[in-house]
Symmetry: C2
């Protein structure tokens, strides 16, 4: 019954990921060991190591999770409306973060707390840096595609590369993640209204 096996595998994998995410989020990457993750998951060491051989592999899985969430958001945005504005896209990304990454039903941990810890870990672990920069490049590429279409429609100056505008758009999401964690009163709709006002102001 390969289908049962496949779904069983996916469930196990999600359980381990959830256990790791909870520990990383509470104690940080450094203070979390594979032994701790095994205990938290309630599975055997052999079972856990079958899915993830190291903490770095778990981080890779978290990175993929964030990436696939973002991919879905952009797939919708770029399909439903050919040229969404940067303000609409930033708003959708912030709402995606608030709605899916902060309270993910499968992982059951605030993935944005993990994101901050992974950024920090990337600065001294080249394996983690490679996995993280890959995600940042991809997210910035999505934003750049939005900027390219917006520029083609005559709504952005012609003398910048779309990637430059994409970098600024991505910052608006990264800053939301940080400020919400460091100043918990930073609510998504409050923040998005500020972004829209900034983008619609005179320059």
């Amino acid at each position: 019954m390969p289908r049962v096996t496949e779904s069983h595998r996916a469930e196990r994998r999600a359980e381990i990921l959830a256990a790791a995410a909870r520990l990383f989020a509470d104690n940080g990457f450094h203070a979390t060991s594979m032994a701790g993750i095994i205990a938290e998951s309630g599975l055997s060491a052999g079972a856990v190591y079958r899915y993830f051989r190291s903490k770095e592999e778990l981080i890779g899985a978290v990175a993929e999770f964030v990436m696939s969430t973002a991919d879905q958001v952009f797939e919708q945005l770029l399909a439903e409306e050919a040229t969404p504005s940067p303000g609409d896209v930033t708003s959708a990304m912030v709402e995606g973060v608030a709605g899916r990454l902060i309270h993910d039903p499968v992982i059951g941990a605030d993935m944005t707390r993990l994101a901050v810890q992974i950024w920090s870990e990337a600065l001294r672990n080249p394996d983690v840096l490679a996995r993280v920069s890959h995600v940042v490049v991809r997210l910035r590429g999505h934003c750049a595609e939005v900027a390219r279409r917006w520029q083609d429609a005559g709504n952005l100056p012609a003398d910048v590369a779309p990637d430059q505008v994409g970098a600024a758009m991505l910052s608006l999401v990264q800053g939301y993640i940080l400020q919400r964690l460091l100043l918990p009163e930073t609510d998504a709709s409050y923040y998005v209204a500020g972004v829209r006002a900034l983008l619609s102001g005179k320059t």
Copy 2:
């Protein structure tokens, strides 16, 4: 000779801060001990503890350093020109980060690497969170003052609080710090041109 003593004290303090900053930047906050900082500084344990009683106090000093750098940037901006645009202010902040925090001559370490580690540490250490959120509030307040003046001049929609726009402006700097560290090709002038294009585009 109180003046000599004062300058001697300031020098010692900077030496210890520099030693701590180098270790935090290279090995992270968790993997750095007070004993390691004492060894790196070349001073006695008694001398070091006279200035800083804990790693948290050192982080507080780093936070103050970042804050005073930002305070100087804003003092100039708000004095020289009564109503600088959010684009000009973001540009000045990014250049301030690139020019002063990345290559500070006194500290001799990339303070932005420390910033990321401090953000991460703040998520699991309430003492660090209190020190960091204080800095974020102050920086966002500076940005909000810029937004307030820009709004009073009729250049921003009247229906948002200046703090909302300030939050978005601060994000543009935080995102620059992150993207530069995770994708080292993110150059300050390249980035600033993208921000200006985004702010000047149609919405």
